[in-house]
């Protein structure tokens, strides 16, 4: 498959669309959360105004080169994940830059942003950032293992490392989805998904009560704006990836937004119901339950494939 | 119970001005030299193991400071207060931080706010609340806090003070 420059344009359009979806979903989620708590809540388009305001602040202070690069790396991680997964199945406009081995590359990109953020926040030198980074890296690493296992399981099941092919194999009704054909691996995947979404019970990294806001403690104005942009794109990219791998992908934007919203809301609902884990608890939990469940799921998958 | 305690104390120490308003409360004045041994005795033998507070009063006219040690006996729910008078010109007292660690903090505060010295008390010369205080200690009664405030904190002109009683009378019953 040759490289077509026009694909860049389509990728940018799709990036813009998913950015807006992310902004609206995060606003609506906060609105719903507030209404559940009988508060008035923000307006659903408040994230846009916050973003404009943060980009429009007149001054900013840097602590060095890595401090600049931290948010940039974070955003690169988010966009990178998004750019290499096919968004709409069967659409030549919105398949982005997916290729035969994109699943492996996406795994790298998911971790990339966290590492960049760690370097950037570390340069700030604030103790709260350092605590946040320590907790964040430990927890993300713990959650990464079930994530890789889930990806491996899916790859074994469909004998492919290409997200497009995996989506293609799930077409033809709900009974073909990985969710139905291999519920165990889906469960492991969803657990890992919860771990990477930085929502309760796995939000000790950002814990606003104990370590004000975690790694981004010192990031302000434009830096914070970049991080906010990423906060809209990155979860959406991950959710799209999960929709592709486990829930049959989507053939048009309507179905995609619906599925993304439902999958995203699982993490929100879990977050509302369960209190926060401490970082040692969450790591132990991932290693004790998610890892063992994942290994069982892997065995089951390989047996079925035989 | 308190009566027996007073008798025991009077045998051992020179205490005066014993006030017993309630049966679970006792105030007495001790000589400066004996105060620490009296506090130690109360703590070790009479069960007054809890230091409630250590504070000071400035008797400007009499030219002396009064230190008050307030102790509590949790077993019988009784309080004992020990007053000690210090010379206002050279206020200095023995430290009791060896009996209660937290007394060092009280003594640090007293040193800063009243200028009462406690030689040997840990960190007693470090500033406690005030930073870089150059004036006389602010809790002494000859310190003019209003003058200091006007000199330091930019008073906003146009401030009026009313006598509350007169003011409310005028507000509520204007015709009288």
């Amino acid at each position: 498959m040759g490289f077509e420059p026009v694909k860049i344009l389509y990728a940018l359009i799709s990036l813009f669309l998913i950015f807006n979806v992310g902004m609206l979903i995060s606003g609506i989620t906060r609105k719903i959360g507030a209404r559940v708590g009988r508060r008035h809540g923000i307006r659903f388009y408040q994230p846009y105004i916050d973003l404009v305001k943060n980009y429009a602040l007149r001054s900013n202070v840097s602590h060095g080169v890595m401090f600049y690069l931290g948010p940039v790396f974070r955003l690169t991680g988010g966009i990178g994940v998004y750019l290499f997964i096919p968004v709409i199945y069967g659409s030549e406009y919105f398949s982005n830059f997916s290729f035969a081995g994109d699943m492996v590359l996406v795994l790298y990109f998911i971790f990339f942003g966290t590492l960049g953020m760690a370097l950037g926040a570390g340069e700030g030198g604030h103790p709260y950032s350092a605590i946040g980074i320590g907790r964040g890296l430990a927890q993300v690493t713990a959650a990464e293992i079930p994530l890789v296992i889930a990806f491996l399981g899916v790859a074994i099941q469909y004998q492919s490392l290409s997200v497009t092919e995996i989506v293609a194999a799930q077409q033809g009704g709900m009974m073909q989805w990985t969710m139905v054909t291999n519920p165990l691996i889906t469960l492991v995947g969803l657990i890992a998904f919860l771990g990477t979404m930085s929502r309760s019970p796995f939000d000790v990294v950002m814990a606003p009560q104990e370590i004000p806001i975690g790694p981004p403690t010192e990031f302000h104005s434009t830096f914070l704006g970049v991080l906010q942009t990423n906060r809209a794109i990155f979860p959406m990219a991950k959710t799209v990836l999960f929709v592709n791998l486990f829930f049959g992908g989507a053939a048009n934007w309507g179905v995609l937004v619906l599925k993304v919203f439902i999958v995203y809301m699982t993490s929100v609902v879990v977050g509302v119901v369960f209190p926060r884990f401490r970082v040692d608890q969450s790591i132990r939990w991932f290693y004790k339950y998610a890892l063992i469940l994942g290994i069982i799921a892997l065995f089951v998958t390989s047996l079925i494939i035989r | 119970m308190m009566k027996a305690l007073i008798e025991r104390l009077e045998q051992k120490f020179r205490i005066s001005e014993v006030v017993r308003q309630r049966n679970d409360e006792l105030f007495m004045t001790a000589a400066k030299e004996e105060a620490v041994s009296l506090v130690t005795y109360l703590k070790e033998y009479e069960g007054f193991t809890h230091l409630v507070l250590l504070t000071a009063v400035d008797w400007l006219e009499a030219g002396r400071f009064q230190l008050t040690y307030l102790l509590n006996n949790n077993a019988v729910k009784a309080d004992a207060g020990i007053r000690v008078y210090l010379d206002r010109e050279r206020p200095e007292m023995e430290s009791i931080h060896h009996l209660w660690k937290q007394a060092a903090t009280y003594q640090r505060e007293l040193k800063e706010m009243f200028g009462i010295g406690f030689p040997g008390s840990p960190r007693v010369d470090e500033p406690f609340i005030l930073e870089g205080w150059r004036d006389i200690p602010p809790y002494r009664r000859d310190f003019d806090t209003k003058k200091y405030s006007e000199k330091t904190y930019f008073p906003r002109p146009g401030r009026k003070t009313y006598d509350p009683e007169e003011y409310m009378k005028k507000q509520l019953y204007p015709e009288e």
Binding site: - | S149, P155, R156
Partner: protein, 213 residues
């Protein structure tokens, strides 16, 4: 942190090498605050609208009046409806709302938090004590006028002000911002020496860097 931590000193590294540390130069910025000119007319109007609709607040509560900021956060007064959100760090907020009674020691640290904030920032002073000292006007330990130390945009009177009056104060601040009158940051930068001298007058043993960012 004490004053001693800001002195130059020799430090031995983990490999045994010795190097000199000058905290004031190494850890803190030495740049003075600058005056930032507002943007062009319509664009600035739009930005000011965005700023007024998204007030991120750092509750700098140093006294009793801060107790009234907590009910303001509750569902009954719905600060979110008034576009007010609380932020945990000074770097990310725009409005330090200084609480009523101003004991001199924390109030001298207030400017530190103020200086760490970025961009157009607005000071809301709660309570009578920030205006003329209130009932503590003759105390040796409370400042009388907050505007000698920070450029105050909105004063809210009351001892203490009820959450309703706080909301009214924030609404007033929003109209000020929309009219383009929320230029406290530039005021602070322009009269920086004056403000700094007043702040140093309170804390004689100045144990902070002069510029906190």
């Amino acid at each position: 942190m004490t004053k001693k931590d800001l002195d130059k000193r020799k430090v031995t590294g983990p490999d045994g090498e010795k190097f000199e540390v000058d905290p004031l130069r190494d850890y803190f910025c030495q740049e003075r605050p600058r005056v930032h000119d507002p943007a062009r007319r319509i664009w600035e109007g739009f930005l000011n609208w965005a700023r007024s609709e998204s007030l991120w607040i750092l509750g700098y509560g140093t006294g009793c009046g801060a107790i009234e900021m907590r009910p303001l956060m509750t569902p009954r007064f719905t600060p979110n409806k008034h576009r007010i959100q609380w932020r945990p760090t000074p770097w990310q907020s725009n409005v330090p709302s200084s609480a009523a009674i101003c004991p001199s020691r924390p109030q001298a640290r207030g400017p530190g938090s103020y200086e760490q904030m970025q961009g157009p920032k607005y000071v809301v002073a709660l309570g009578s004590c920030t205006i003329n000292g209130g009932m503590y006007w003759d105390s040796y330990n409370t400042i009388n006028r907050l505007d000698k130390y920070l450029p105050v945009d909105v004063y809210i009177t009351g001892c203490m002000p009820r959450p309703e009056s706080l909301l009214a104060g924030f609404e007033k601040l929003k109209t000020l911002i929309r009219e383009g009158r929320g230029e406290g940051q530039n005021l602070y930068a322009k009269h920086f020496d004056e403000y700094k001298a007043n702040q140093k007058k309170i804390i004689r043993d100045w144990d902070m860097p002069d510029y906190n960012w």
